[in-house]
């Protein structure tokens, strides 16, 4: 039985792992991927110490830091069920089952889907949830970015540099997100902004050819070859049933990263901590590891 199992290896999980390692805990990291959403981010200019770094580069730095401590990481193992059995916690994954005295849930968030006709059919056939990964394939092509928050602005800023025309389809009266990003997007010559607009349908034959939107009660078809869905995120918290969550499915934690169940801690975007930022997730990860360490010292 381990002292600690960390679920997830994004900024929160990796930072928790570095701290747990320095406390000489007997622990394991179970994760679907490494870097989490940070690896999907475009340009990062607000992670202290780096005036400019890209998401994949920062994720790489995180991983190097973790590897320095020879931390046991099982990549490709996704948690399916977490259960408390008296003094031990069982974590079932897609491959195996593990037992631990404490756990830290740092499983992050994933992209929310639009839920419109054509979305599933055209996924990876022009429709994508990762501008950082797939953006370069749309050089000189006309694309649509769906959303109006920071993720959408980030995707739009990446695409402005490579794509032809970038249609930004936002369902609120004005763009959200950070002013500094909004200004860059609004000043770009190849951006066409549709506020108060909703996507109704994605269509095409083999690949995406157009989207249908509803603007002020009027339907309009826009010919595009790429659709980037950036309408927000949902927490990866379904594998743990008994813990208290808020209305968004985020795991409720207190200032010590404790959840409603003793010995279960949580950190990063999967929690109800306000503001989802890489630097916040990293800080929360360190707090969670220290809380787990002190919990074990007392029990």
């Amino acid at each position: 039985m381990y002292d600690l199992i960390i679920i997830g290896a994004g900024p929160a999980g990796i930072t928790a792992a570095v701290y747990a390692s320095r406390k000489k805990m007997d622990f394991l990291v179970l994760t679907k991927d490494i870097g989490g959403q940070a690896a999907w981010s475009g340009d990062i200019e607000n992670y202290t110490g780096y005036q400019f770094i890209t998401g994949p580069e920062l994720a790489q730095k995180f991983e190097e830091h973790m590897r320095k401590y020879n931390i046991p990481v099982k990549e490709g193992e996704e948690a399916i069920e977490v259960k408390v059995l008296g003094e031990e916690i069982s974590v079932k994954t897609n491959k195996s089952e593990y037992k631990s005295k404490t756990i830290i849930i740092a499983s992050g968030k994933r992209s929310k889907e639009l839920g419109v006709s054509g979305e599933k059919e055209f996924k990876n056939r022009g429709l994508t949830y990762c501008a950082t990964c797939d953006g370069p394939l749309f050089a000189q092509k006309d694309v649509a970015v769906i959303g109006g928050g920071n993720s959408a602005l980030d995707a739009a800023l990446q695409l402005i540099k490579i794509a032809g025309r970038v249609y930004l389809v936002n369902n609120t009266p004005g763009l959200g997100g950070d002013l500094i990003m909004r200004q860059k997007v609004e000043q770009a010559a190849n951006v066409v902004l549709f506020n108060d607009s909703r996507v109704l349908e994605i269509s095409g034959s083999q690949m995406v050819e157009s989207i249908k939107i509803l603007k002020a009660g009027k339907e309009e078809s826009i010919p595009v070859q790429g659709v980037f869905v950036e309408i927000g995120l949902v927490p990866n918290s379904a594998f743990i049933k008994d813990v208290e969550k808020n209305e968004h499915g985020e795991i409720k934690i207190n200032s010590r990263n404790e959840t409603s169940i003793p010995a279960i801690f949580a950190a990063g975007d999967v929690t109800d901590t306000p503001q989802k930022q890489i630097i916040i997730a990293a800080g929360e990860g360190s707090k969670a590891a220290l809380s787990a360490f002190y919990y074990l010292a007392q029990h």
């Binding site: 991927d33 490494i34 870097g35 690896a39 999907w40 890209t54 998401g55 994949p56 994720a59 790489q60 490709g76 990876n124 056939r125 022009g126 994508t128 990762c130 950082t132 990964c133 797939d134 953006g135 370069p136 394939l137 050089a139 490579i162 083999q206 690949m207």
Partner: protein, 79 residues
Amino acid sequence: MPKNVKVYSTPTCSWCIRLKKFLKENNIEFEDIDVGSDRERADEMVKISGQMGVPVLDIEGEIIVGFDRELIKQSLGLQ
């Protein structure tokens, strides 16, 4: 005879970076194709895989979309 392996990827995709690292760690030689800068090869990737997501791995004509470690191990005969 080592198998003929091609990787279609973009420099910014984290799964692509991980896939290539995995191949290197296993001493698998491969042709590294940047579909972000080469339009013709990008079209070729779409044609052989029927989709636009990266990475795409071509192992002697067997097409694997995404970093599917188990499938890749199987196809390359890795432990």
